[in-house]
């Protein structure tokens, strides 16, 4: 997948080109799919020498549980620090490894995830889980529909 940033600014697209690291969240977008168990499922990989997640943006159609599979295709060790109600989930991702964990995100908005091992600092490997939808009707304001941006 070629991003607009890659097309417009190819000199920025890659670690240690014009920039030392990678631009924020530009590893594409993927959608979590709802399984027969009612749980959402997504896959995210780390491509070689990119210091990024692919996709960097995981879209959940609504709040709930997300089973996310992480694959490290890089020849460096990374990890994943993922948002979830209760506590963040943390996973080692050795070279050529994969693992799954389940996250709970209870409402709309976007949540960041990353890798917090030392060599990934500097805000490489930053991703977003975007939760679509609205809050339950009973939590919404008693008023006519209002204009949105």
């Amino acid at each position: 997948m070629t991003t607009r940033a890659e097309q417009e600014l190819p000199e920025l697209y890659g670690q240690n080109k014009a920039t030392l690291g990678r631009l924020l969240a530009h590893g594409g977008l993927g959608r979590a799919e709802e399984g027969s168990d009612g749980r959402l499922h997504a896959h995210v990989r780390i491509p070689p020498d990119e210091l990024m997640w692919e996709p960097s943006i995981v879209v959940m159609p609504h709040g709930g549980d997300l089973e996310i599979e992480l694959l490290n295709d890089d020849t460096n060790t990374h990890c994943a620090l993922l948002p979830s109600n209760g506590d963040s989930k943390w996973m080692w991702l050795p070279v050529y490894s994969r693992g799954k964990t389940v996250l709970n995100l209870d409402g709309p908005g976007y949540y960041w995830f990353g890798s917090n091992v030392g060599n990934d600092e500097g805000r490489g490997l930053v991703g977003v889980i975007a939760v679509m939808g609205d809050v339950p009707q009973e939590a919404r304001l008693d008023r006519p529909e209002q204009p949105r941006p």
Binding site: N85, G86, D87, R98, Y110, Y111, A139, D142, Q146
Partner: protein, 559 residues
């Protein structure tokens, strides 16, 4: 390619020396016990220490004679991380709750902790996942938790109400309280009343419709909701024009209320109307914004109200505390409003007893002793700047005054900072700031005070001046001490009767929270969360670049 299995994911807290559980001290915290909170001064059982909101403790081990020997007993540090943390995005604003040696508190970005109140060691933690893009006014903050029936109850920035198991920190229930797509959020510490908690909503600067809600402690089911802005046909709706203004009217109730169990009335302050400064789109008094409202906690019915700033165009929320006290046979309520005036009311019916100024410079208008409000400086011409004191920061922010029944004085953190406001009409859209003006807060000509005010007359007894506005809550104790933190990081003890500073400690970051006192095994502690931030450009812009931290300091006398 052959993949190997990654090691299983773990909860991040498992990678720490955290104990993991707290002793079951919260099991026995009941409504009846909170009613008598002051009879167990070793604990700080509810937001203000007791239902009356006095922020006064009968503990006197630390007193005017020995306070000079006060030293840090422990420090709890957590560390801000993530994309929210910044100079103007978060502050540590919690009022710690203490039950039989365990401290419960909340922080920015969805954190809740249990800490050993004797040593500062972390017992458990809970993290609520908060979207990065939640619209917040004002800042990434939370003002604390409530504890009852074995549960720790809190609100979250994405407008949920949660109950945690007080032993393990695990989630018991999670109820959605507001609409983040309409820019609602929640920062308030819940108030336990009988079998329910009461919480208010945040988001007034985004043109929402404010509300208070009660939830059953056991289940999280909502018992009632009361809007602070009436819709057409409801009492008070005649104070709004025809059209959609009421639906965007603000009036959020984002600071914890107080409670009189004999009258069975909860007193809660409401926020500014929206848009903050453009009054032309909402002609009228705009009830129940900028008001003290008294509610029946059983059903949410508003029993009486007193509006402090009718048709506010200066951003003068009235969210600040309502201190309940009895004097000369009168049942009184004291409220230090952002508009610079102290309102003393009969808390049985809301009748005015006295109105006296406590702010330093008040130019926006005048309120006389009969309650008549005369606006003097109004941002009513598009593009034409006006300047007034106090600015939208208010003569006092949300942080709380204290009342000592020993001295019969209030101790008030005062801000003296003005602002230039220029009317700039804007159309309303959900989740976009809805101010109706351009605002520049003075960064040079500002100061602050701790003022002692006579509860009998409303007159100033003593004052202590600070170079910057005072933006943290006061704590009064039976040791005749008043503790207040400063934006520059000092935590200071004053003689309650004279105002003489007796002790101070530089904590390394500014104060924007509510200190607590308690004792464990007979040793009195003074605990204060420190961590500077949150809407600083609005309250003390001269301190916007100051260092910020995230520590709870607990002080005690040497053993």
């Amino acid at each position: 390619m052959e993949y190997i299995d990654a090691p299983p994911a773990v909860n991040f807290a498992a990678l720490s020396t955290m104990v993991g559980t707290a002793p079951p001290v919260a099991q026995d915290v009941t409504y009846e016990r909170i009613l008598r909170a002051r009879s167990e001064p070793q604990n700080w059982l509810t937001y203000y220490g007791a239902y009356d909101g006095q922020r006064y403790s009968p503990l006197d081990q630390i007193n005017t004679e020995n306070v000079q020997r006060l030293t840090p007993a422990w420090v709890f540090q957590f560390g801000s991380s993530g994309f929210h943390a910044g100079q103007s995005t978060y502050a540590f604003e919690a009022a710690p709750i203490v039950v039989d040696g365990v401290m419960y508190l909340s922080g920015w970005d969805g954190w809740v902790w249990a800490v050993d109140a004797r040593t500062g060691r972390q017992l458990w933690q809970y993290k609520h996942a908060i979207p990065f893009d939640v619209s917040l006014c004002c800042g990434n903050v939370n003002r604390g938790v409530a504890v009852a029936h074995g549960k720790v109850l809190a609100t979250t920035l994405n407008a949920h109400v949660i109950a945690l198991d007080a032993v393990s920190g695990e989630l018991v229930w999670d109820t959605t309280n507001g609409d983040v797509r309409a820019a609602e959020s929640a920062t308030v510490a819940p108030l336990v009343v009988k079998d329910k908690i009461i919480v208010g909503s945040s988001g007034g600067e985004f043109g929402v419709r404010g509300h208070l809600d009660a939830y059953y402690i056991e289940t999280g089911e909502r018992a009632w909701r009361t809007y602070t802005v009436p819709k057409p046909g409801e009492p008070g709706s005649d104070t709004w024009p025809d059209g959609p203004a009421w639906a965007r009217g603000g009036g959020n109730a984002w600071v914890t209320g107080t409670y009189d169990p004999e009258l069975n009335l909860v007193y809660w302050g409401t926020g500014n109307p929206a848009p903050d400064f453009d009054g032309a789109v909402r002609e009228g008094d705009n009830l129940y914004t900028d008001s003290i409202i008294a509610l029946n906690p059983d059903n949410g019915e508003i029993r009486w109200h007193y509006q402090c700033t009718p048709h506010d165009v200066w951003d003068y929320d009235s969210n600040m505390e309502c201190i309940l006290y009895d004097l000369d046979g009168q049942k009184l309520l004291a409220h230090f409003d952002k508009n610079g005036y102290l309102f003393t009311l009969d808390r049985r019916n809301g009748e005015r007893v006295r109105i006296t100024p406590f702010g330093e410079r008040i130019t926006w208008g005048e309120i006389d002793g009969d309650g008549r409000v005369t606006p003097k400086v109004v941002p009513d011409k598009e593009g034409e700047p006006v300047h007034f004191w106090p600015g939208p920061a208010g003569a006092k922010e949300w942080t709380h005054a204290a009342y000592s029944p020993r001295t019969e004085m209030f101790y008030v953190p005062v801000q003296d900072v003005g602002s230039e406001v220029t009317l700039r009409h804007r159309e309303f859209k959900e989740s976009i700031p809805y101010w109706g003006a351009s605002v520049t807060v003075d960064a040079d000509d500002m100061q602050g005070f701790v003022k002692a005010i006579s509860a009998a007359t409303g007159e100033e007894v003593w004052r202590w001046r600070n170079e910057t506005p005072m933006s943290a809550s006061a704590l009064a104790t039976a040791g005749d001490l008043v503790f207040v933190g400063r934006p520059s990081g000092e935590f200071t003890a004053f003689h309650a009767r004279t105002g003489e500073p007796l002790w101070e400690f530089q904590t390394g970051s500014g104060h924007h929270s509510s200190p607590t006192t308690y004792s464990v095994d007979g040793r009195q502690f003074i605990a204060v969360p420190v961590g500077w931030g949150s809407w600083i450009e609005g309250i003390v812009p001269a301190m916007l670049g100051a260092s910020h931290g995230d520590a709870v300091f607990a002080f005690a006398l040497p053993q």
